[in-house]
């Protein structure tokens, strides 16, 4: 008997669903064991409550064993949908960095909701007047843009932007085998990176990620100098490994560009920004020269209170 799966996207871009489709051959082995009963991004499944029609007051999510959710939670509609999914599934999987940490959209947490709304929907030069925030047809925002586990209990987290298909397969296989937990090994991107490290840099300013690195394209990565030690900001030291799947070199490093931190912190409770600033000073770079450090170093992890509007300082 195949296991029933409910999949839904909340505050998401559908990249995580593409990643599911991108599993390739192993998907053929998995599919006979899975029955997707609801998957709004890929399958045309109408469900009552979607448009708030009467007399239905709740979204009707089918009963299932496994729930997969991509995207964080931004508004009341998504929150309600997520709560309904949690009610109807046994194991909930948060898929992708938005669901796990808040993701890129959670950058909005650096400002108050009103400020964001005013800026985006009123005062951008390219903005045409949008529906009012109070409009009944527009779901109101919840106070912050959150990760899934800030709203409901989550059993399995698969981070990544997008998550690597290998991990989706591994997590799904674990669930099919009756497990209710799975997690990536706690290793940093640097642990899986082959570049040459000398623990010190030439010093000076920290260059931004789009500046050119020094390397010989004819030679392999193991002949290239560490990106941080070349003076370019690379979030490898504070980022969970796994973007290249079970084997291989971290993907951004493969493309000879610095790690952007999409797999989030290595351990729960770590503070990547603090660790990264410490790491930059220990290779001898000037921490003052990091541009927009708060946003850059919390790029994918704005949920869980990592990004908040700064408290107003009393005038002194």
């Amino acid at each position: 008997m195949p296991v029933k799966v409910v999949e839904d996207w909340l505050n998401a871009c559908s990249g995580c669903e593409i990643s599911i489709l991108n599993i390739g051959d192993p998907l053929l082995d998995l599919l006979p064991n899975l029955e997707f009963v609801h998957m709004t991004a890929l399958v045309d499944h109408k469900f009552y409550g979607q448009l708030g029609e009467k007399p239905v007051t709740e979204m009707e999510i089918p009963e299932a064993t496994v729930g997969i959710v991509s995207g964080g939670v931004r508004n009341e509609e998504q929150k309600h949908e997520l709560e309904q999914i949690r009610k109807h599934v046994k194991v909930l999987i948060a898929l992708g960095s938005c669901a796990t940490y808040g993701g890129i959209p959670a950058h909005a947490n650096m400002w108050k909701n009103d400020e964001v709304f005013e800026k985006i929907n009123r005062h951008c030069s390219s903005t045409t007047p949008a529906p009012d925030q109070q409009d009944l047809n527009v779901p109101p925002w919840i106070p912050t843009c959150t990760a899934v586990d800030e709203v409901v209990n989550v059993d399995i987290r698969i981070p990544g932007c997008p998550p690597h298909p290998d991990w989706i397969v591994e997590a799904l296989t674990a669930v099919l085998n009756g497990q209710t937990s799975w997690s990536l090994p706690e290793r940093s991107v640097c642990d899986t990176c082959p570049v040459i490290r000398e623990q010190k840099s030439g010093g000076g300013a920290v260059k931004r990620c789009f500046e050119n690195l020094e390397f010989n394209p004819e030679e392999g990565l193991d002949k290239m100098r560490c990106i941080n030690e070349q003076g370019v900001l690379c979030l490898g030291p504070v980022t969970l490994a796994g973007c290249a799947g079970k084997s291989g070199v971290p993907r951004c490093i493969q493309a000879r560009t610095p790690c952007r931190g999409c797999f989030g912190p290595i351990r729960k409770g770590a503070r990547p920004m603090v660790d990264m600033m410490g790491s930059l000073t220990s290779v001898g770079l000037d921490p003052k020269t990091v541009v927009d450090r708060r946003a850059i170093m919390n790029r994918y992890i704005g949920g869980h209170g990592f990004l908040t509007p700064l408290p107003a300082r009393p005038a002194r």
């Binding site: 660790d275 220990s282 450090r293 700064l310």
Partner: protein, 153 residues
């Protein structure tokens, strides 16, 4: 400020400061600052009771996380005291702390904290008088700020 007013800071002066009862952590290195604190004690030098000393083997082992953690879990101020440059027992631990201190000062802003809440001072093993003076000065500086926004009590 005269010695006597600071020593009585906990009693009569309460109304004068914004935070009469601050929590100040002093991270001291074993070889210089902690010995200086010892000397200050045996010399009967007075400094305010709000300072809690934590001993480290070297300031070079104080990760920025420890300081940010202390400040975001309710400490009103953190002062790190180590050996004078060149005097480090482990050759260059204090130099590492110095470069980290810059990063920490920057990050205080990101956590919505005033720059005065963190300070790095060099206190040699024989400088008991300086240790007491630095602690009085730091405490006063923290008392003049409002209580930490992260404080829960």
């Amino acid at each position: 400020m005269s010695e006597s007013t600071v020593c009585q800071a906990g009693v009569e002066q309460d109304a004068m400061v914004q935070n009469p009862d601050p929590l100040v952590l002093a991270f001291c290195c074993n070889w210089c600052a902690y010995t200086a604190a010892d000397l200050a004690g045996t010399s009967r030098l007075q400094y305010p009771p709000f300072v809690r000393i934590v001993r480290f083997m070297c300031t070079g082992m104080i990760h920025p996380n420890l300081i940010i953690d202390a400040l975001t879990k309710g400490a009103d101020g953190v002062i790190v005291c180590g050996c004078h440059p060149g005097d480090c027992h482990y050759i260059e631990g204090n130099v590492r702390m110095k470069s980290r201190a810059e990063a920490i000062e920057l990050m205080l802003e990101d956590f919505g904290l005033e720059p005065e809440r963190f300070r790095l001072e060099w206190v040699g093993a024989s400088e008991g008088v300086k240790f007491a003076h630095v602690m009085r000065d730091m405490t006063r500086q923290i008392q003049d700020l409002p209580p930490s926004p992260y404080r829960t009590d």
